[in-house]
């Protein structure tokens, strides 16, 4: 893999396949709010036993436990789904009034979206079909497979949010599929499918430069479709599309949120895997536990084997300037990380370390293999601590 690293995000048409139900799913839910639930309780799909907590499957509660979800310690409910139980029913589909009304807000709220402030504001909305990291083709594949419905969904979306125009960022190679939307009040603009152009901060910034937008808001294509769906049915979407990359190549799969990684990796040769990264090779999170559930932000799962792993080293900076040259936000990375190494965090702040978007390009290019992003994160968190202390 190392030899052929490419920053191009043009991936082939890889059909999204449904994965069978796992043995267990893990549903993050604060235990304080669901004291009335107990181990052994039978639950039904779409039941709202506790306000704000909708069950994604029919099954039985097995355990209440704590685990790390997206790197944060969280209460989770372990549920054993019943196979073939609670088959898909067809939810009632509601009409959307021309102006957002209370029913719409209620349906959105029931699905976990509290969007009043956005509906009332007049900031521009940018829907992005560009993936945020490499080895992930979720957004482009969803675009491919849903291109027929997009027109209708954009109409709906404009009604929900009471907007004249929605902005839509698509990767260059898929522009032909959607350019017709332009005549329907959607501003479609091309983005070169090269890392890091899909990172929200960078995408939005280039959108502002191209279209002079007003305090734009970023929305992933997948989430855009979920919101449209929720507005009509009043039900959240429990499915999540994931790109799995392992020794067999890339695959797009569709799983229920809360599915543990081990279930996704069932078909892979995990015995020789040494690292499981969720969220992409440049910005992702290395998991230490294969029970970790899939969440909204798990766009990709990338399995690394012994030969792919880079070992952390603490070499001295040779001041070559490659990190600065590749930094999309123009930071003096070599100085910042040296200061951070020697605990001079205030100097890091003066150099603008907070602007770092953690794209990982500096570490990627550093010839001595310094853990630059780690040092930057250290500086950021220390600065936060310092500021917290000052406020107190």
């Amino acid at each position: 893999m190392k030899k052929e690293i490419k920053f191009n995000q043009e991936y082939d048409d890889i059909k999204i396949v449904e994965l069978p139900l796992p043995e267990h799913i893990f549903l993050p839910a604060n235990r304080k709010n669901n004291k009335n639930l107990e181990v052994g309780d039978k639950i039904n799909k779409f039941d709202e036993v506790v306000p704000g907590l909708i069950f994604p499957v029919t099954g039985e509660i097995r355990e209440f436990l704590k685990m790390y979800v997206d790197g944060v310690e969280t209460d989770v409910i372990k549920i054993a789904p019943v196979k073939n139980g609670g088959d898909e029913d067809n939810p009632e589909r509601n009409d959307i009034a021309d102006k957002p009304d209370d029913n719409l807000l209620l349906r959105l709220k029931r699905s976990g979206y509290i969007l009043e402030s956005i509906i009332d504001s007049d900031s521009d909305i940018v829907v992005s079909a560009v993936d945020t990291d490499l080895l992930c083709s979720v957004s482009q594949q969803i675009l491919r497979e849903n291109r027929k419905d997009l027109n209708q969904n954009f109409e709906l979306f404009k009604k929900i949010f009471n907007r004249e125009k929605i902005h839509f960022a698509v990767p260059e190679h898929l522009f032909d599929m959607v350019w017709k939307l332009q005549s329907r009040g959607v501003n479609v603009f091309k983005v070169k499918p090269n890392y890091p152009n899909g990172i929200p901060e960078i995408l939005i910034n280039s959108a502002i430069e191209k279209n002079s937008l007003k305090s734009p808001l970023y929305l992933k294509l997948e989430e855009f479709l979920n919101i449209c769906d929720a507005a009509v049915t009043g039900r959240p979407n429990f499915k999540k599309v994931i790109t799995l990359t392992d020794i067999n190549g890339m695959r797009n799969i569709n799983v229920i949120k809360g599915t543990p990684l081990s279930h996704i990796l069932k078909d892979s040769d995990v015995s020789s895997a040494v690292k499981v990264v969720t969220g992409g090779p440049l910005r992702g999170y290395a998991n230490f536990d294969l029970d970790t559930p899939v969440t909204d932000i798990t766009d990709s799962v990338y399995v690394q084997y012994e030969k792919d792993v880079i070992r952390a080293v603490n070499n001295q900076c040779i001041n070559c300037g490659r990190c600065n040259g590749h930094c999309p936000v123009n930071l003096s990375v070599n100085l910042i990380t040296r200061y951070s190494e020697f605990s001079l965090f205030e100097k890091c702040r003066d150099l603008g370390v907070d602007n770092c978007i953690e794209c990982g390009l500096c570490s990627f290019y550093c010839p001595t293999g310094r853990s630059l992003v780690q040092l930057i994160r250290l500086a950021k968190s220390e600065i936060k601590n310092l500021e917290g202390e000052i406020e107190q």
Partner: protein
């Protein structure tokens, strides 16, 4: 099952320090081969001794300073070869040993090793040698016993002592292909340029410093030349003599002692070029490249303040599914 965890990114370009040094050495190869062809065993002796002393001093000094950062990565080899390129073929053993050792010791290790040196290490060693034993480095004196098949009169000495009119006996072509006396490698102008272009293509060095170094030399010498063409040589003569070619691509582009910001690089390059010509024209020295770069090294921390302001790329998200 045990999994490895680490902070992102989980990929690396694979381009390591070792490969950088290898690329630098490859960049010097054309000049090195030219020197071997020209001076034969004399050049081989100088180069081999330089490299050996460089490696040895690095190993010993790192032991003494308990500086065990990083494995052997070829930087000493590169430093040794680069140093040898500046020496005349007749340099005595003790001079080489002394010079290379000082380059590594005072030039680099004393400041904390690779990346921390405020001055280009090779130049520190060379400057000390030039100030202490000028006669051993005087290319006119050291080449009297050679018959190289061309005029063994250093073009820069000729310029200094007899003015620009006298230099018309040197043809630019002869100078360019290395038919002049000087350091064993630094005279091979065209070969150094080939090596430099290799470095530029491989993106080992950036184009700003070499280009503006050359522009500085051309601009400054053109001014002098316009004032008095009989006394001051034309820009092309300056570019094709002395250490300018090697300085442009190899000496001034030392990572640690040159600025990393792009505007800084431009000013740095220009400064090196202008100072070189000023030294050549106004000082007692024939070739000012070494001192010019050392002086500009002093300004590096200041020039690094010229980086642009960081961009603010804050944005707001909504919906779930974003970090």
């Amino acid at each position: 099952m045990k999994l490895i965890v680490s902070s992102p990114p989980h990929w690396h370009s694979g381009y390591s320090e070792k490969k950088i040094n290898l690329d630098f050495i490859i960049g010097l190869m054309p000049a090195l081969i030219h020197s071997l062809y020209f001076f034969g065993m004399h050049a081989a002796r100088v180069i081999a001794l330089c490299v050996a002393v460089a490696i040895l001093s690095e190993v010993i000094l790192r032991k003494i300073f308990k500086n065990n950062i990083g494995p052997f990565n070829g930087s000493a080899v590169y430093l040794g070869i680069l140093f040898s390129m500046l020496l005349p073929p007749t340099s005595p053993y003790w001079l080489i040993v002394f010079g290379v050792f000082l380059s590594i010791f005072i030039g680099r290790e004393i400041f904390g090793g690779i990346g921390s040196n405020p001055f280009s290490p090779v130049l520190v060693g060379m400057a000390i040698l030039e100030l202490s034993w000028p006669s051993h480095l005087n290319v006119n004196l050291t080449s009297v016993n050679y018959n190289l098949g061309f005029d063994c009169h250093s073009p820069l000495t000729a310029l200094k002592s007899a003015g620009a009119d006298y230099t018309s006996k040197f043809s630019f072509f002869e100078l360019g292909i290395g038919n002049q006396v000087g350091g064993i490698g630094s005279v091979a102008i065209i070969f150094l340029i080939i090596g430099g272009i290799y470095l530029l293509i491989r993106k080992v060095i950036r184009w700003e410093i070499p280009l503006f170094f050359a522009l500085g030399v051309i601009g400054m010498s053109a001014i002098f030349n316009a004032i008095d063409p009989h006394n001051f040589a034309c820009p092309w003569f300056h570019l094709l003599t002395g250490n300018i070619a090697i300085g442009m691509f190899f000496l001034s582009t030392d990572y640690a002692s040159s600025p990393f910001s792009n505007p800084g690089k431009i000013i740095f390059g220009l400064g090196c070029g202008i100072l070189t010509v000023l030294f050549r024209v106004l000082s007692v020295h024939e070739d000012g490249v070494i001192y010019a770069i050392l002086i500009m090294n002093l300004f590096t921390p200041m020039l690094d303040k010229l980086v642009g302001r960081p961009k603010m790329l804050k944005t707001a998200y909504f919906g779930r599914g974003i970090k």
